[in-house]
Amino acid sequence: MPAVQETIDRVRSIDLDQYKYGFETTIEMEKSERGLSEDVIRFISAKKDEPEWMLEWRLDAYRRWLTMQEPNWARVSYDKIDYNNLYYYAAPKRKAAQSLDEIDPEILKTYEKLGIPLREVEVLEGIAPERRVAVDAVFDSVSVATTFKKELSKAGVIFMPISEALREYPDLVRKYLGSVVPVTDNFFATLNSAVFSDGSFVYIPPGVRCPMELSTYFRINERDTGQFERTLIIADKGSYVSYLEGCTAPKRDDNQLHAAVVELVALEDAEIKYSTVQNWYPGDNEGKGGIYNFVTKRGDCRGDRSKISWTQVETGSAITWKYPSCILRGDDSRGEFYSIAVSNGMQQVDSGTKMIHLGKNTTSRIISKGISAGRSQNTYRGLVSAHKKAKGARNFTNCDSLLIGDQCGAHTVPYIESKNASAVFEHEATTSKISEDQKFYCQQRGLSEEEATALIVNGFVRDVLQQLPMEFAVEAQKLISISLEGSVG
């Protein structure tokens, strides 16, 4: 059956034309020369004052990248990207700021407009004052401010731009960088390894529960630049961290490339919760402009009983190519993926997850909801695999898609690979597996079967959305009321 009116209205309310963050900031920028070469990589590395091994690492990645082919298996199409016509480094010209007063006021204004508090006394919009969030603000290729650093360091938590971490904690970075997403992982990750400029580095020491939520806010501003950030989060034994990520970009007629890499490492008994609201400029209704969001995100549950949970709300980008994954290496480790992807206009989304079960008794859960409207294409692509040694692995996957209008498409491409008999995998893409008991209970009280189903499913979706930190409440609120009625599987 077609989608209900309420859902249609909700999706419209997050329509492309209402993109609020499309403004541009005019400030003087310093850029690398146009194009990509070993010289440009040396330039970036020198700008960041990096150790020699890091430059070699980048150059190795670049040489490898030259031999690689751009992937074409995703269900997205776009004009060939001219990698030699981009700027790989762009930073505000003013020297690195030691305090907020030294930051270019234009940049401060930008973050104000975006509702991102860079002063520690401020808090995010709509959040109770006692809930504080530490923010790392990345503007094009550099981090312009990181808040609450001192307070966090009292707890032993390291939260800083990765370029700074490379200088201050080179051994720690070297130990983990590229250990989850290897340099040669894929075309875009290799490109990122060669040219990444900034991003956040987080280390939570053993047994520490991070005293506040950490967040990074990415902003692309400069024309013709690509943003290549790299985030590395390490949760040592028994620690916990919740990390949020947000992103926006100006409205422009040409496309811009965003190729990030995020690596998470959870050691024994540690837990990382990673939430994203992806709101890059999606292009206009005719498909002009917008960000190409080609991102590699992967978490490694390296220790026993560790847990990594990805939650994403995707509404932006002209093209999304993104598969936040979990490698469940430690015994009894757990991976989760909760996703809501809304596409509108001419957007193309090819997103999903990978749950790779390697350890014993590992469990994973995938809940994905794709909603396509306008002339967009929305694809869920996911892999669940159990290695021979992953005895007792369990997975439950549920992916639903909803189409609004007959000009869009919704697609599901799951891969389910089981290599041992004790692994139990269940995959479903309909609402048919709702507990008969619950349905019967509701129907006993006078609801029709459809109403009962909708009630149960909506209750379930609410649960998923409640996984999102408060900061995302505003966006999430709009999505909560989207019903699954008319879901096509």
């Binding site: 599901t412 799951p414 089981s418 995959h427």
Partner: protein, 440 residues
């Protein structure tokens, strides 16, 4: 960024040489279609796991050498070969016997064809111009498939079966494919079935061959099912243990047409059965099931494409795989719902029972939906037999192997239930029991 080109394998070079030599001996008709098909194949080569549709079934690795096309067998050899062909042998049917991919008239019931049905050997039909090779591709997507195209290029024999409009044919036609030989050989057959408006027709296919010989059959059934017509198709694979068996059924359904297709797989070192359905007319329905029971060293791939291109189509697909030893099961299913195909109802399910820790199952149930008023779903499960169910049966005095066999039989049975023909269904169940008995 470098372009990556695969080196040609010995099998690919071998196929090119074979095509060079056989193109002379092939009938002069349809030369262009064959040349085009081979050109397509030459451009793609044998698909490796880098090709998405062959991700789990790497033909480039599996076909090491191209086996030469089998010659038509002598009358004695053919007779000897069919004496061992047991598949559906006890079910009442009109039989067309193919030995090594060649129709053997002497061992076929060409004179006993039921009323309303005409059977013409394919070469004769092509020579007369009754049918053209281009017409033999009722589903567009097969043109992109290297297995189908290889079949077109090397096509040696087959049959054209036409069912008159309105004919309700009770006696099934049984296509009995038997392979025989001491060394590796290949076969390529094509059977075209046209079921006229409102007609009903049942088709059996059985495939058997020698153990220990790495022969390479490539069999295609093309079906054009007219409005309100029904085709019931039952297929049994009992190929030899070293065979690399490729097969395709491609069916085009008219308005309110129906297809019922069941494929039961036991044989082959590697088997890949491709099912293409094109819902061309409104309110067409399809029930497509598959079951595979695999032992050590086997790989069985079921690949399905259901293309809904008209309003109100209903498709039900259910695939069951039982894996013993270190076998591998593959299911790739894709339901496409085009923009025009509103009110489509498609459900696809693949379940797997892993009896050992060495076995593996790869499931890829895809949906591609462009219409907003549809109900499509897919499900996939995989796991060992339920301990609780086993315990229940054992608590009632059954030894574990018997209890396990019962569960397996019930599991597979679900996929075979849709076979309408009682005799055929019972014969398939008998085959399942035989497999379980042999397993012990």
């Amino acid at each position: 960024m470098a372009d990556i080109k695969n080196l040609r394998t010995s099998a690919e070079t071998g196929l090119s040489k074979l095509f060079e030599t056989t193109r002379q001996s092939l009938a002069t008709h349809e030369q262009i279609a064959r040349e085009e098909a081979f050109k397509f194949f030459e451009a793609t080569g044998l698909p490796s796991r880098r090709v998405e549709a062959f991700k789990y079934t790497d033909l480039r690795a599996a076909i090491v050498e191209a086996a030469p096309p089998a010659e038509a067998p002598s009358a004695d050899a053919a007779k000897a070969a069919i004496s061992s062909a047991k598949g559906l042998a006890n079910v009442e049917a009109v039989r067309l016997t193919f030995v090594n991919g060649h129709l053997v008239a002497g061992l076929s019931d060409l004179g006993r064809v039921p009323a309303g049905v005409t059977v013409t050997p394919l070469n004769e039909a092509l020579a007369k111009g009754d049918v053209r090779l281009g017409q033999l591709a009722p589903v567009e997507q097969t043109r992109e498939n290297p297995i189908y195209q290889l079949n077109t290029a090397f096509l040696a024999d087959g049959a054209l079966i036409s069912v008159e409009a309105g004919a309700r044919v009770e006696t099934p036609v049984h296509l009995r494919f038997v392979g025989t030989g001491e060394t590796a050989f290949s076969t390529a057959t094509r059977v075209l079935v046209t079921v006229g408006e409102g007609a009903e027709f049942s088709l059996f296919e059985t495939h058997e061959g020698p153990n220990g010989i790495a022969y390479q059959p490539n069999d295609v059934v093309d079906a054009v099912i007219a409005d309100k017509a029904t085709l019931r198709h039952t297929r049994l694979n009992r190929e030899g243990d070293k065979a690399v068996a490729l097969s395709t059924i491609a069916a085009r359904l008219g308005a309110e047409a129906h297809i019922e297709s069941v494929n039961l797989v036991f044989g082959g070192a590697l088997s890949r059965h491709q099912i293409y359905l094109h819902f061309a007319g409104e309110n067409a329905t399809a029930t497509v099931n598959g079951a595979a029971m695999l032992g050590d060293g086997q790989l069985a791939d079921s690949t399905l494409l259901a293309d809904h291109a008209a309003v109100g189509g209903v498709s039900r697909e259910q695939f069951k795989t039982v894996i013993d030893g270190d076998a591998t099961g593959v299911f790739q299913g894709k339901i496409i719902v085009r923009q025009i195909a509103q009110q489509t109802d498609g459900k696809m399910k693949s379940d797997c029972l892993l009896l050992t820790d060495e076995g593996q199952m790869m499931n890829k149930p895809e949906l591609e939906i462009f219409a907003d008023d549809v109900a499509c779903g897919h499900g996939a499960t995989c796991g060992a037999p339920d301990e609780e169910l086993l315990f229940y049966l054992m608590a009632r005095g059954l030894p574990k192997p018997v209890a396990e066999s019962l569960l397996v039989q019930a599991f597979i049975g679900e996929a075979l239930e849709s076979v309408t023909h009682d005799g055929a269904r019972n014969a398939l169940i008998g085959e399942v029991e035989g497999w379980l008995k042999a397993r012990g």
